[in-house]
Amino acid sequence: MAGIYVHIPFCKSKCSYCDFASFPDKLCFAESYMACVYREMAFRKEELKNYSFDTLYIGGGTPSIIDENYIAMLVSAARKNFNLAKDAEITIEMNPGTVSAKKIETYKKCGINRFSIGLQTAIDSQLKDLGRIHTLNEFVYCTKLLKGENFSVDVMIGLKNQTAEDVEKTIEVAAAFGASHISMYALTPEDGTPIYTDYLNGELPDSDEVAKVYEIGVKKLESLGFDRYEVSNFCKKGKESKHNLNYWQRGEYIGFGVAASSHINNVRFTNTFDLDEYFKCVLSNHLPVINSEEVGAVEREEEYIMLALRTAKGLNLKKYFELFNKNFEEEYAVALKKNAEYMQINGDYIKIKNEYLFVQNSIIVEFFK
């Protein structure tokens, strides 16, 4: 299994919590940018000719803000350059404020079969606080256009003035309008973003409150038929994001575009975060990679554990043995004994118990050398 990620770094405006590579005022460069992305794909064609890819994920930024025809061309460029499976999962991220019937028609036609909608919250005042460009109504409109499609909705917790009821309502709305997948993740105030000042001023709910809301959210999701398959990801049966599951299995993926990351053949590398630099590199026939690090043997193992224990299923003991030629339970006897109370073994899997998934860091680090 391997995935392709394409980063579209354009937005109408920057959300207050956003620390991704996105450029609200550079939309005019979209055409040149997409041309560079197709070109960057061609650079990698030879190197990746023996890979078969099962997923394509178009993320951002706001991929839905650019002309839909570029997206269609992107999908076909991916197919042209790489062995992308016929039934591949092809996802696009969308902002409800940027959609139209025509756009979605084009997406569907070019083979996109999964949509990820950034709702965040169903409370308009909170959307405004976050600097989101859409309202709840626009989300509803968007879901109507997507009727019958496989789509996911992002929900944020830990927002200013957000109550547990607000979160429940957001989940209910997402479910009622047909989401098959919901990502519920806690706001992480990053230094340098506008929301960080809210955090510094104590305006955001503290970690205990967020934990409480998370628990209530999980209950709500489960009652609506969404099972947790990763700490922040919930879905109807069989609707897991294959692209993301690949990350948590330490799978390989290739990223294109500004700030995109890749993991190929035990090397992790990242493209430049600078749009101008990206153009210059690609136009002069260079890869826009700014750092590249071979993952050592110890790190591979730590990464594998750290990622696998995020999932609800946990770490597959057989797969671990295949990958590292060691018995997990022997190798980590001390850490397992110390954390016996917080973990459980189900057949071939060892997992962090559900009730401790939200405090997993301190358990995971016990498995670091």
């Binding site: 995935g3 990620y5 993740y185 806690a186 706001l187 992480t188 970690s207 205990d208 967020v210 934990a211 409480k212 998370y214 700490v231 922040s232 993301n244 990350y247 948590w248 993926y253 990223g255 700030a259 995109a260 990351s261 890749s262 993991h263 992790r268 990242t270 690090e293 790190e299 730590e302 990464e303 750290m306 990622l307 995020r310 110390k338 109370e341 917080y342 401790y356 998934l357 939200f358 405090v359 997993q360 860091n361 301190s362 358990i363 995971i364 680090v365 670091f368």
Partner: protein
């Protein structure tokens, strides 16, 4: 041949911390051409990193200089720099015994401080001639005339001839040099008499063995002589003698009146006691010179390696430090909570801090230190008397007839405005008021008897903060007094943590217990389960706090681009965990053991 004694001047400098002692020493060295200004590192005599950073002198350092006085003669100056802090008084008394004169530096704006006074009295006891020097006259707040008057009023010295200098700017230093020649007596002593040399310091050199710092009182010593000391009788062959230039500067011999060093292949600093007298093994002197009081440890604490497997490295480090610091004492100790380590004795709190810092810095070891304790006298029901400095070694209550604690005489000097605050503090600390003396309109001396265990925690910080840094304080040990003391235990998750036990006065046990629990609650990070933190006396719980279980500790998102960065975050968390000690199943940050007492909130 050596110069006749009449051209030698041996002297030291006495000053309060920060009053410019090392700076003046530097200027004197500069002016005598000992070092060129260009080559001079700031504060040449303080050679340890810690000394320079903290601006204090810990070890005394002698240096020899030549000075051509206005009378046309060339004089040899032996300057012995001395530490200024109360903890190191013993070092001062040692250097005083090697001198005939002492320069007393008085800060022109701050006047005489407690520590200065204590050292002046020491110098007077040693029959030293004292030359007052008023320093820092360059400061706008300088009031040299008042400083002079204070010297006359408080110490009773004639200060009319005291040079007014600025060591920092090099003003009037020449006058000081002339006064040294004029006022300090030349050393007496008979070069033909049997050798008597006072050891005033020593250190261990990797190549030469122990280097003895000596003041030759009578006779002479040269390479090849056989020497012994009065206390050990062991005979050594002198390999090298010399003077301090600064740094070791070999010479053919040392003669009565001179200050210098001896290397005689002595293997360990413990073989030759500082304060002992060196004499010639073949023609020995009959009587030793008067020595000094033996140094006594007053503050004790446990030192443990953070990583239990580093015990031997820690042992090595402490042994090496002891080579140059005979006042550091230690013995192996074990703690249920902290494993194998050492119980160490120090001259005071600063000495303790410096040793801890040197272990971490010079040997790259991470250590855990327990809260400081004093040595208690325990009279058992069977009549046996023992001294206990480690709370976990205290016998069961039923075997104790009574306990006694060390009491000090504390002299606090302060402007009158802060008397109330100081008296409040002393009362809180179980102090007994003795007397109050107005030194002048702006300075009062308060004398209290205080239990030592009350001042080893935060007394110094409190005095400084309550008087905005204006008050200074000094103490000396008086003896032991009967006291109602109890052992206060701390329970983490239901188990006693021996490393946190302490001996406290019965009356303050409840408040101390409550404070400890509160501080621990803040200091112990939340873990996956709820942790009760309790204080108990003899099994009875007197205070309780709870460290709530952590409820959120997760990286919300972890997708393709996040993996490397998020893994680094977890690695950092892991590093933090490595700085913790597991007490039962509770993880406790290593600083806690030392710091819970310091964060005393008002």
């Amino acid at each position: 041949m050596s110069k006749p004694n009449q051209f030698i001047r041996n002297f030291c400098i006495i000053a309060h911390i920060d009053h410019g002692k090392s700076t003046l020493a530097d200027r004197i060295m500069e002016l005598t051409g000992q070092v060129s200004k260009r080559d001079m590192e700031e504060q040449l005599l303080d050679s340890m990193d810690i000394e320079r950073e903290r601006g204090i002198t810990i070890k005394l350092t002698p240096v020899r200089m030549f000075y051509t006085a206005s009378d046309g003669n060339e004089y040899v100056f032996n300057l012995i720099d001395t530490p200024g802090h109360v903890d190191f008084t013993y070092e001062v008394s040692r250097s005083l015994a090697a001198c005939e004169g002492a320069i007393l530096i008085v800060d022109a704006s701050q006047g005489i401080e407690a520590q200065t006074l204590a050292n002046v009295y020491l110098a007077l006891e040693n029959d030293l001639e004292i030359l007052p020097v008023i320093n820092k006259i360059d400061l706008p707040s300088a009031r040299p005339d008042e400083a002079k008057k204070e010297v006359e009023d408080v110490i009773g010295l004639d200060a009319s001839y005291a040079p007014l200098v600025s060591a920092k700017e090099g003003t009037n230093i020449a006058e000081v040099l002339e006064d040294i020649v004029k006022y300090f007596p030349a050393p007496s002593g008979d070069t033909e008499a049997p050798l008597k040399a006072l050891i005033f310091d020593s250190y261990y050199d990797n190549y030469k063995g122990v280097i003895l710092f000596v003041r030759v009182k009578d006779g002479s010593i040269k390479v090849g002589d056989k020497i012994k000391t009065f206390q050990s009788e062991k005979v050594y062959d002198v390999v090298e003698v010399g003077v301090f230039a600064p740094g070791l500067f070999p010479k053919d011999g040392l003669f009565a009146g001179e200050v210098g060093y001896i290397a005689a292949s002595i293997k360990s600093i413990q073989e030759v006691a500082v304060g002992d007298t060196v004499t010639n093994a073949e023609t020995p002197a009959l009587e030793p010179l008067p020595g000094y009081k033996k140094v006594q440890s007053v503050v004790f604490c446990g030192i443990y390696p953070l990583d239990g497997s580093k015990f031997n490295d820690l042992k090595e480090a402490i042994l090496k430090l002891q080579l140059n610091d005979a006042s550091l004492i230690f013995e192996p100790d074990t703690s249920v909570a902290l494993g194998f380590g050492f119980r160490c004795g120090f001259l005071g709190l600063l000495h303790m801090e410096i040793i801890q810092e040197r272990i971490e810095r010079e040997f790259g070891l991470d250590i855990i230190t327990t809260a400081p304790s004093v040595s208690y006298k325990v009279v058992k029901t069977d009549g046996e008397v023992i001294f206990v400095d480690n709370p976990s070694h205290l016998p069961p209550q039923s075997e104790i007839e009574h306990m006694e604690e060390p009491i000090v005489k504390a002299d606090i000097y302060s402007p009158p405005d802060y008397l109330g605050q100081i008296m409040d503090l002393c009362r809180e600390k179980r102090g007994v008021f003795k007397q109050m003396t107005y030194l002048d309109a702006n300075r009062v001396q308060l004398e209290y008897n205080l239990p030592l265990n009350e001042i080893i925690f935060d007394f110094f910080d409190q005095i400084k903060s309550r008087t905005r840094g204006y008050a200074s304080f000094d103490y000396e040990l008086l003896g032991y007094e009967k006291s109602k003391l109890v052992k206060l235990d701390i329970l983490l998750n239901g188990d006693v943590c021996d490393a946190l036990s302490m001996i406290v006065h019965e009356d303050s046990a409840y408040s101390r217990g409550r404070m400890l629990c509160e501080n621990l609650k803040e200091a112990i990070p939340r873990q996956l389960f709820e942790i009760p933190v309790q204080a108990a006396i003899g099994g009875k719980i007197i205070a309780r706090e709870t460290v709530k279980a952590v409820r959120k500790d997760v990286l919300a998102k972890c997708y393709g681009g996040d993996i490397t960065r998020k893994k680094k975050l977890l690695e950092k968390q892991k590093e933090g965990k490595k700085r913790m000690r597991s007490i039962g199943n509770v993880e406790v940050p290593s600083e806690v053991f030392m710091q819970i007492l310091k964060t005393n909130k008002d």
